[in-house]
């Protein structure tokens, strides 16, 4: 669906490149996570991919065609869900959606989308009276107005309560299951882990890892099993390698001891993020 080859970009006022020759491909029907600390080049890459920035070096291909050859028709096929609210505050939700919907050739019926996101009852309310979570949910409807082939989602669950976050994640999965492709950025690693088929980590304008969450966890995790059991009133912890779990010592421990916890040494995407980018997720350095 998208091919990016040796992409380089420099802002006119900067001395050096913000994007330093990155390569990746996004397959049709894939949810592709794009992760990185602030200032790493994540937003710039997205702006280049949605044609909000031009004058890049390298090659970007969308749906088999050079992106630079596309004009307005490109936007008929993509939907963008911004992180911040993007609605006219003195218009109702329905007036907002009507305005944007009529800019497209393909237009969806917004009622099922509004109903699923719990906004149908408030469709005639001014957006200025919406809560932050409602505005973010409305962004999701805005992104889907034209029945796009590809979605660009920037922190789609940020500011949502667990129930609505679940609804949005289900919608993203349904979109993918219907053949859609998704480019997702998020700092909520649980969501990335849950949704993405593959993730890419960008830092200092370079891609440092591109793989599936599972493969990354295998690569960066430890092939161990940690067991905690109670012995003479105190908790004892023992760590076995994956090769050792077939051995007698491990089997005996399982059979004879009062086991309290068993954990594999699999790492989390959050730990991988910190490891590959060198930046902490909360209060990024």
């Amino acid at each position: 669906m998208f091919k990016v080859k040796d992409l380089q970009f420099q802002y006119p006022k900067n001395d050096s490149n913000t994007i330093n020759g990155i390569d990746f491909e996004i397959a049709k029907g894939e949810i592709f996570g794009f992760l990185g600390p602030s200032g790493a080049g994540k937003t710039t890459t997205q702006k280049l991919m949605v044609k909000l920035l031009s004058n890049y070096k390298g090659y970007i291909e969308f749906d088999g065609k050079d992106l630079s050859k596309f004009h307005d028709e490109f936007y008929e096929d993509i939907g963008v869900c911004f992180e911040m609210p993007i609605s006219f505050s003195k218009l109702t939700a329905m007036e907002n959606l009507d305005f944007f919907r009529k800019l497209y050739k393909r237009q969806v019926d917004v009622q099922p989308l509004l109903e699923r996101l719990g906004l149908w009852q408030d469709k005639d309310k001014l957006v200025g009276e919406y809560s932050k979570g409602m505005k973010i949910r409305l962004n999701m409807v805005r992104a889907l107005l034209n029945d796009p082939k590809m979605l660009f989602l920037d922190e789609p669950t940020n500011g949502l309560d667990p129930k609505n976050s679940r609804i949005v994640k289900d919608m993203i999965r349904d979109f993918r299951n219907g053949g859609g492709t998704v480019f997702l950025t998020s700092h909520i690693m649980g969501d990335v882990d849950e949704l993405c088929d593959r993730v890419a980590f960008i830092t200092d304008g370079k891609l440092v890892e591109v793989d599936s969450p599972r493969n990354l966890k295998l690569k960066y995790g430890q092939r161990t099993v940690a067991i905690e059991y109670r012995d003479n009133g105190s908790v004892v912890k023992e760590i076995f390698t994956m090769d050792q779990i077939r051995e007698k010592a491990f089997m005996e421990l399982i059979a004879t001891k009062n086991i309290e916890t068993i954990h594999s040494g699999e790492t989390t995407l959050e730990e991988i993020f910190i490891q590959v980018t060198g930046v902490k997720l909360h209060g990024e350095d």
Partner: protein
């Protein structure tokens, strides 16, 4: 064309909802009130001021305010990831402000016709509305480019008023020496006044009128091509997550 029509309709919907049309209409009522109390000849003397304030100052301020809201609410970015071009967006701003000014002038001059029996060359007036409004829409867009927030927008607007509009008003009211008029001859403000005042004259100086029209068109084109369009996407997408 359908998209432009839809964008213009959207502009009008927002002019109304954000009370910008109401503000513009209220100013028109002030002119009508003035027209009621003044004799036709006195009101005629006042007309350059009416034209200048409505077509230039109000247009630039309205566009600046519209774009301030669109930038603040990120809706301008949302439009840019729709199948419309930057030019479509700017053209819709021009057309909506032209229509707005036609409505405002329609109300003012129809009132003057019924109250004071005053008539104008409406063809000349209409052309002046098209040319001058287009130019001052560009001024309004530039104003929003250089203003970080609404306070800065108003301050920059005041600077433009003082530098470009007040000298012409000062000469009109006799507060500045009349010979200064020669220096201001090609100021956009004086060109604006001449284009509009041609609609009040029995015999139009066509050579001057055409020169003024060509001047404002060329100046507008330079603004659009070299100042507005190249910076538009940067302006619209600055501080945007995506």
């Amino acid at each position: 064309m359908a998209k432009i029509k839809h964008l213009v309709a959207g502009e009008f919907q927002r002019l109304t909802k954000y009370n910008l049309f109401t503000a513009s209409f209220f100013v028109a009522l002030v002119w009508i009130g003035l027209g009621i109390f003044l004799e036709p000849d006195e009101f005629r003397m006042f007309l350059p001021f009416v034209f200048l304030m409505e077509a230039s100052a109000m247009t630039a301020l309205l566009v600046g305010a519209q774009m301030y809201y669109e930038k603040k609410e990120h809706t301008i970015s949302s439009m840019l990831i729709s199948p419309i071009t930057s030019t479509d967006y700017i053209v819709s701003k021009i057309l909506s402000n032209i229509i707005n000014l036609i409505i405002i002038f329609g109300v003012i001059f129809l009132s003057m016709y019924f109250i004071k029996d005053m008539t104008f060359n409406y063809f000349i007036l209409l052309i002046a509305v098209f040319l001058v409004t287009s130019f001052y829409v560009f001024v309004g867009i530039l104003l929003s480019y250089i203003s970080k927030d609404f306070t800065a927008l108003l301050l920059n607007y005041m600077v433009i008023m003082i530098v470009f509009i007040l000298p012409s008003i000062g000469i009109m009211l006799g507060l500045l020496p009349a010979e200064w008029k020669d220096y201001l001859f090609w100021f956009p403000t004086d060109v604006t006044i001449r284009l509009f005042m041609a609609s009040t004259e029995a015999t139009v100086n066509w050579s001057q009128y055409l020169m003024d029209s060509a001047y404002i068109i060329v100046l507008g084109f330079i603004f659009f091509r070299f100042l507005i369009l190249p910076r538009f996407k940067d302006y619209a997408t600055a501080n945007l997550g995506v």
